[in-house]
Subunit: 546 residues, 2 copies
């Protein structure tokens, strides 16, 4: 008869709970830590840490399935993630959330999914979304064991005004004993206190030290965000020392080509380089999210699941060597064994997925006539800037610097494209279209030439979702057949195809560093000043269709 | 009872055999072309071509397994490749060749493998190789159905002198009715005629139009090479028009990060842009290799296996849309179905492979003392230049511009590292080591600092083969556990890891565009002027160890 499986690991044990580092041997039995014995170890021995946790991320922004997301994250020493499936929920409703939950269970990874609180984020008069999740949906999901929290409560005016429907969603979470995530950009003083006192315990939208301090003082945990879009580490890093235990790290959005290069490990390296106490840094990176959300991840304590990583050292240049979940090696930087085993899992999921693609896409090809428009002498122009969610509302003539922006409902089947003008992209020679467009993920396109615009829009329609870009000569695309926002491809191939799109958009004259991210926010009505939705130009200051 | 499986494909049929293009419908039954009927088609319909063939390539240079090589090649419309497993044969002998043949059979791809003719390319007094393949080995393999030709006959002095052993290898091929590939850089006039008349029918080492014309005039087919290392298209392109039917395209070596971006399709686009007749171009790209080597690939004729590709058009910007083998779609640019099916196959092969890794690696870690050396006032210095197989022999002092080069036998277990000096790499701050080193694939390393040199060499030894590079701060590596030259990783991940190595070597001060390729040739004794092998400095002009 075979006894329980026992394995030993020797090295420098970084006990983040007890805040000490010592030489030791970890004994793992049946996937759990059976004992840890102190012993002498070589100075060159690896360091054992609890794994890193991304405390707030939309997996969809990686364009990867949860299994592939996990595989890439583990390569960076991230063993778990707190995920809000807000994007797929806007497209596919409860079915989308279920898909993410089902796929997440196939990965050796500590996923903690939340239930999106605000789907859609705007009324249907402002833009067309794929689905509406009502209070009953929220309540039903909050009771599930695999839902860990109520995800970002964006409707902060509703919270401050104690809107009954908003409060009922919060009540669903609280009666299930689960935390509620915040989203309160700029909120300070009494309003911050009132927002927190509704039972909201985190915020990932603090971008200045003032809002960060205000959040901490209201008892909220601040998620220091350093993702592909927003980068708040520089502003918020002092909180690591000022409020240890009240800080977590997150990416919010991590795009494929960025994600394959690094994840939470990058924030940790930077914080070490900046001289923050290693235990404060690792408390934010590993400990606080596990405790706050009740993630079933081990913390390198006797009795815990044997979830941990090994790193070369604790300098700003540390490398992640291995990642373990339940005592099983799920990543090794040497790659030869685990790479193929994990990839095999991922590919088998892909295969099942592509045979049962779920999507919500119903749009017919358009023609050049559909986007014809004679500009007025003084047009409303959206002035965009690189990587920014914000735009400026300008009135003026349509010059060479101005291109057309087109937004089109992708759900209803009989959509009329909306056409307006935009400045900043510099796409004089070509055009780009995509079905990644926050939050409803309709089709958004920008281009300096009507033929090219129609070509890329129709390519996105033909693919039933994805990205297409043309420089007037070459067209490249990336199909996103899962909900029009996720690809079944493996992470590195996806990242490579993104870099090809980047090349074409640069050839087309675009000067933005992050053109696709910027484009994705050009229809988000909740952010000022001027946006275009499938219902028309939206003045986000007056909060109305122009 | 189910009848034979029938599918129809409609578009512009590019009949390279009859040299005409017409609208038509291809009827495929049970994997073969049953009929082609002329019919009217939309101008925007796809173009059907026989797939492209790489007429000479060492799969090992892609660092990919044959299955993964096939998957990436099919993405570029290449449906077959004429392969010389010379690298793995030098490391693993007949077992290595068998491995490649076995793996190739798992791919939906038209592989035509040859038997390496010259393993090793030098005597064992000059360098240590993993294996020696004798005339009997060659004869045994030439009789096999899955061996299509005798691979590049590098020993051209032996051919010109009608060396009996060399001639017996050629005789083995000829008595089996199989072609013999040439390798005769610079050979013209009577010598070219004498080389050809030994029964050698191709050459991929023509780098000038003069040698190219000389080869054609001697009845040899010229392979126009445009790979990651050598680029001969510019010199040889006129042969496409001057000698149609006597030209093929090849890459010889295609490295991962280059290969994922393009393959034979790039040569075809360039030739179309240069105005060559499309039928001449496609004859070289598709037709001639199939006929010359007897590759069992279809040529879009009734009765042929249904192997073909579809492209958007025949302009210099054409895109490959789909690839078919035996009527099965094995690549689609939309990716969602075939990507995961092909990748699944590849990963399952990887999984089997990593459980039964074959290798030939026996070396012990070294210390700084092992590479200590006090430079003489006038040292022999290897002067290297970017991407070149050639070096210059300089005598002079060891200045700041000069670094150490170390070569170490990786087979015998008791090797003493050889140390010499090299100029050009500019690796003042760091070091690089790898087990890709033509042709014997011993360990070669260059570095400006002894500690770093030892670190990267020992990392390669610890991995039992691979690449390691350090900029004095960060070390990155790429394990190559299959023979120390091939990775089980998928192509895109491999390419990504290569780009990380690139970043580190650039940080280390290297100014070469292709440092790893250049390094791989620093021990190849057959190319002048000065090289370092595991036996010592080799003067390739005098052809002796210094």
């Amino acid at each position: 008869m075979e006894g329980p499986k026992t394995r030993c690991f020797t090295g420098h044990i970084v006990d983040v709970v007890a805040r000490r580092i010592y030489g030791g041997m970890i004994v793992v039995k049946d996937g759990r830590i059976d004992s840890i014995k102190e012993c002498d170890v070589e100075p060159s021995a690896p360091y054992y840490l609890p794994g890193f946790i991304d405390s707030h991320v939309h997996v969809e922004s990686s364009m990867m399935t949860p299994v592939e997301f996990a595989r890439i994250a583990l390569q960076h020493g991230t063993i778990g993630a707190v995920c809000d499936p807000h994007e797929i929920a806007n497209v596919m409703g409860a079915e989308g959330v279920e898909l993410m939950l089902d796929l997440a269970k196939l990965a050796d990874f500590r996923f903690a999914f939340g239930m999106p609180s605000c789907v859609p984020s705007c009324s249907k008069d402002i833009e067309t979304s794929g689905y509406v999740l009502g209070p009953d949906d929220v309540d039903r999901f909050m009771k599930r064991d695999d839902i860990y929290f109520l995800a970002e409560m964006m409707n902060f005016p509703g919270v401050l005004g104690r809107d009954p429907e908003v409060m009922s969603r919060i009540a669903s979470a609280r009666s299930a004993g689960k935390p509620v995530d915040g989203h309160a950009p700029g909120l300070v003083g009494e309003e911050r206190a009132r927002y927190a006192s509704a039972g909201i315990s985190t915020d990932h939208e603090c971008t200045t030290i003032e809002t960060g301090m205000a959040a901490v003082e209201s008892g909220m945990i601040v998620q220091i965000r350093e993702g592909s879009a927003a980068k708040d580490y520089a502003a918020l890093a002092p909180l690591i020392a000022a409020a240890p235990g009240m800080v977590m790290f997150c990416t919010d959005d991590c795009h494929p080509d960025d994600f394959i290069r690094g994840h939470i490990d990058r924030i940790v390296r930077r914080a070490i380089a900046d001289g923050y106490d290693i235990m404060d840094v690792l408390t934010a990176a590993c400990l606080t999210p596990v405790r706050h959300y009740g993630i079933p991840a081990g913390l390198l304590q006797v009795g815990d699941p044997a979830d941990f990583i090994t790193v070369t050292d604790l300098t700003p240049d540390f490398r992640v060597m291995k990642s373990f979940i339940n005592g099983e090696k799920v990543f090794s930087s040497k790659g030869q064994y685990t790479a193929s085993l994990m990839l095999e899992r991922s590919v088998s999921v892909q295969k099942q997925l592509v045979q049962h693609l779920i999507n919500n896409f119903n749009a017919r090809p358009i023609s050049v006539e559909d986007i014809a428009r004679t500009p007025a002498e003084a047009e409303d122009i959206i002035v965009s800037s690189d990587g920014s969610l914000f735009t400026i509302h300008e009135k003026g003539p349509v010059t060479d610097e101005v291109q057309k922006i087109v937004v089109m409902d992708r759900y209803s089947g009989d959509a009329v494209p909306r056409v307006a003008y935009i400045k900043g992209f510099g796409l004089a020679k070509g055009a780009v279209a995509q079905s990644i467009a926050h939050d409803c993920h309709n089709i958004v396109a920008v281009g300096g030439n009507d033929e090219e615009l129609v070509k890329v829009i129709n390519r996105v329609i033909e693919m039933k979702g994805g990205v297409a870009v043309s420089d007037g000569k070459t067209m490249k695309d990336l199909p996103l057949p899962i909900g029009g926002i996720i690809s079944p491809l493996c992470g590195h191939e996806l990242a490579f195809r993104c870099s090809l799109l980047d090349e074409v958009i640069r050839n087309a004259g675009c000067r933005f560093h992050s053109p696709f991210i910027t484009l994705a926010f050009m229809c988000l009505p909740v952010i000022p000043e001027l946006k275009l939705t499938d219902k028309g130009l939206f003045d986000s200051v007056k909060f109305e269709i122009c």
